[in-house]
Symmetry: C2
Subunit: 389 residues, 2 copies
């Protein structure tokens, strides 16, 4: 087990009607906020009204910034930064999923910064200062509600890049599982893939003596695997939605990564895909992760056999751990497929030719190799894209 | 799953030589601290010197309060409160195990309070104010390094009572697994029982749809069950000690209790035992917990069958969940015995007669019934003590 420092101060307010506490939580920090949200769904399902009512009840003024799209754009971030600077706003409230929260995080570091906020994403510039943010979560997937990361896409060049700092962990996350009842199936499934990917990025490591966190990872994966099909069949099953929602946070608050270095190759490999073709991130991960596994599993066949046995209940074939490992990878693919997700580039509604794969592989490794389980250079990444065809 | 609020801000600094960061962490809060510790072991093994060196390096002055005993006493707490008031100290550093940390917590609420600090323990008085505290952990067991609770014993009457508030969570916990290499076997085993008890108090609930946290609980229990025998055989096995140490914190930081109400009967039932006879808390729990299980398991035989199957790998006997459940309880007892712990009152080196049991049952329920899985009154508690004979 490696040395680590872990601190996650985000206050989780979880349960039915928890959104009624939004105003109270915000008012501990500010009496005027930038209220960031996405499309019309929070208005359609009454979430917007409930949150506004709670803010008004606490005497908090809200300046709105709607229109955040999946794979959130730099341009809207810059707009948000300007509004905050002009209106002297020093707290950002994100009401939505990962894209909305990541936008809020980007704004929160852009406001006190004199240069272009993209510097933190393009150049890994250290985040010295940021505004506090809070969230009302509506999509369990990205884990951004208590994570230190933010992913933003720059329109020119379709560049999707991330920034991170403990300062970016939200002060609070309000989580009402009922808000996820109306998610389209594809969103529920993509969210599940995203949650699982956050766990798997941490799970696959060569670090010895991390059985404790391995088991916590397996517990989280099994929870998502068991509950997602039920959520698709019974969208208003509270207990099932609640378990997925809480798992989404635990999957990505760094507890499961303590004492080890995660892999984190599949995320940047996928980012090129969703950055270029605007594919849902979780769906992209359902394509990339199994291909990554195919490519790297021989580097630690025992770990992949454990994945098959402990996550997918496969019997271990002691004559061939390879065969056991392959079963686990195939189980993962079958699971994604059963939830309606694509598992190959061919399943997507876009044309991607060899030259595109080459360009993505080049861009993905433009800052150097990706991944820690196996370090992957441009050629490796290209092979993974090819395996994903 | 029930609604919940969860926030654990304690910063964990985990690993080899982490104690070297003590001064830096403390200096964020104060330049003068009360340095609370127990007996001679931290001096004998060089921990005292290392921490002192780190404090000096950061320009932090330390006023010492040594002599904390297991089942920590109110008298020393009151002494600590006086020192802090006289010396204008407003940060407490606890270097030791649960008893030392609980003493520090008690002092931290006593200093800004005008009355007797025992009020918070005897009368469940709400904690409005407290000094910040930090810890350097040397015994993985109580989980007090990031928990909101503190348990103190009042010498007159052998009264062991608890107090709790999120304000009591330490600001930081410095955890070097090497500091646990020199623990006596009995302490290692008692610590394991204490960690397991913290998980089991939360695990046994009738709340439906908490499979996610059930699995996290099982992951933690299995980690302790697997690693404790190795730690006893190889006291200087870093990976094994590290996993036990991190499990001790996760077991009691409330993550495993989210969405459910824990039982918490075995703890007060045991507190009478260690309060009256000064028995190690973990050893007392090894006696009480299996007896409690015997007494209550029929109230939710499925949960106890799950415990047998998922924690102890017992095959489920679908003809008799009762038989399956009994196997799990017996496995727990055998495990405790294999680590050298007592599993019945008869194993203890003290004389306890029927009248003593009656007195303990009366005192244990003096504020009303205990336990949530099953509410236990004086008569129930007496029967559990009798089962524990």
């Amino acid at each position: 087990m490696q040395d680590f420092t872990f601190q996650n101060r985000t206050k989780i307010v979880f349960g039915r009607e928890s959104e009624e506490q939004t105003g109270e939580e915000v008012s501990k920090y500010a009496d005027k906020v930038l209220f960031v949200y996405g499309g019309g769904s929070i208005k359609e399902y009454g979430i917007y009204d409930k949150v506004m009512e709670s803010l008004e009840g606490a005497g908090v003024e809200a300046v709105e910034l709607g229109g955040v799209k999946p794979n959130p754009r730099l341009k809207l971030v810059q707009e948000g930064v300007e509004i905050c600077q002009e209106e002297s706003i020093d707290f950002i409230l994100a009401v939505g999923g990962g894209s909305v929260i990541d936008t809020a995080k980007a704004i929160s570091i852009g406001v006190p910064y004199e240069g272009d906020v993209w510097d933190f994403y393009a150049e890994d510039k250290t985040i010295e200062e940021s505004l506090p943010i809070g969230t009302v979560l509506t999509i369990p997937a990205a884990g951004s509600e208590s994570s230190p990361g933010s992913v933003i896409t720059k329109e020119e060049g379709g560049l999707k890049r991330d920034a991170g700092s403990n300062k970016l962990r939200p002060e609070f996350a309000i989580m009402n599982p009922e808000f996820t009842y109306t998610l389209p199936d594809y969103q529920t499934a993509s969210g599940a893939a995203d949650i699982m990917a956050h766990v798997m990025e941490r799970y696959f490591t060569h670090e010895p003596n991390v059985d404790f966190t391995d088991r916590l990872c397996e517990a989280t994966l099994r929870t998502v695997i068991e509950n997602t099909p039920i959520a698709l069949e019974e969208p208003k099953n509270y207990g099932v939605r609640a378990q997925i929602m809480w798992a989404s946070t635990v999957a990505h608050n760094d507890l499961l990564g303590t004492g080890r270095v995660g892999d984190w190759a599949s995320h940047p490999i996928e980012h090129e895909l969703s950055g270029m073709y605007d594919i849902t991130h979780g769906a992209g991960l359902a394509i990339i992760f199994p291909a990554w596994m195919e490519y790297v599993h021989n580097e630690n066949i025992e770990k992949f056999a454990r994945f098959a046995a402990s996550v997918w209940n496969e019997e271990v074939d002691f004559n061939s751990l390879e065969r056991t490992a392959q079963k686990g990878i195939e189980d993962l693919r079958k699971f994604f497929r059963s939830t309606g997700l694509p598992t190959s580039l061919g399943d997507l509604d876009v044309e991607i030719d060899e030259a595109d794969l080459e360009e993505m592989a080049r861009k993905c490794t433009d800052k150097g190799p990706v991944g820690n389980f196996v370090e992957l250079d441009e050629e490796d990444v290209l092979e993974i894209y090819q395996l994903a065809r």
